[in-house]
């Protein structure tokens, strides 16, 4: 069970204005808004939290296929200095990691902490989609999570173990 989300921070700056009135309260819980308020780099914090929510949304679609837009129901409840995180959705717990290299912010989430040892970063686009539009690797049938934003493409999978 995995999900990932990549944010091209340059593009996000151009495409979205999270500072507009009402934006933060529509998307973020009180706890998350507090993290944003306290952050020295607020842009980075906004998109870290956003990408964790998106990752959990994607991962949860593998558990039960849902459609809907409910960013506030997916709640980041812990985030440390190394950007390790815990997020809850529908009473399910997701462990997350976020990395930032230059303007590429990438988050991914798993359900069991051990799964962090089995993350595969795939370069190629050799994936197909099932009837629900969920991607999997062509040959191994490993379920994947694919995220594309601006100039970045990140494909991750969970190896069989």
């Amino acid at each position: 069970m995995i999900g990932n989300d990549v944010v091209d921070l340059d593009l996000a700056l151009k495409e979205s204005n999270w500072k507009r009135k009402g934006f933060l309260t529509k998307v973020f819980t009180d706890f998350e808004q507090n993290l944003i308020q306290k952050a020295t780099n607020k842009d980075e914090m906004v998109w870290t939290l956003w990408s964790l929510k998106e990752s959990v949304y994607k991962a949860s679609q593998r558990i039960f296929y849902v459609q809907g837009f409910f960013p506030k129901k997916i709640a980041v409840v812990a985030l440390n200095k190394n950007k390790d995180s815990v997020t809850f959705y529908d009473n399910k717990k997701f462990y997350g990691k976020t990395s930032i290299e230059r303007n590429c912010l990438h988050s991914f989430v798993v359900i069991k902490k051990e799964d962090f040892n089995f993350i595969l970063n795939l370069e190629s686009k050799t994936y197909e989609k099932d009837g629900n539009g969920l991607p999997f690797e062509k040959e191994s049938k490993i379920p994947l999570s694919v995220s594309h934003h601006g100039q970045y493409l990140k494909i991750i999978g969970l190896s069989n173990h």
Binding site: A12, E15, S16, N17, W18, R20, K21, G22, F23, K26, V27, W50, E54, Q67, G68, F69, F70, P71, K72, K73, H149
Partner: protein, 84 residues
Amino acid sequence: MNKEEIIEKLKPIVKPFVKDETAFNAINEKTHFITDLNINSANLVDIVLDVEEAFSIEIDNESMEKMLDLEQTILIIQEKLSTK
């Protein structure tokens, strides 16, 4: 406000977030914001906020959850307008 009037009022709200002009020109009641218009989810929030402003209504989280296509959006706007 009827469907057609609402759609006309929604078009300029949606336009800045759609890169594909052909898809935009084909907008109708069945259009899905993400699958048809390729709008990213952060911009969905902008659309919700713009709709609130344009129609002077408040969209609660429960309604926002369903605002993924024009059909639902129209229903939500009509419902909120009627209870104003």
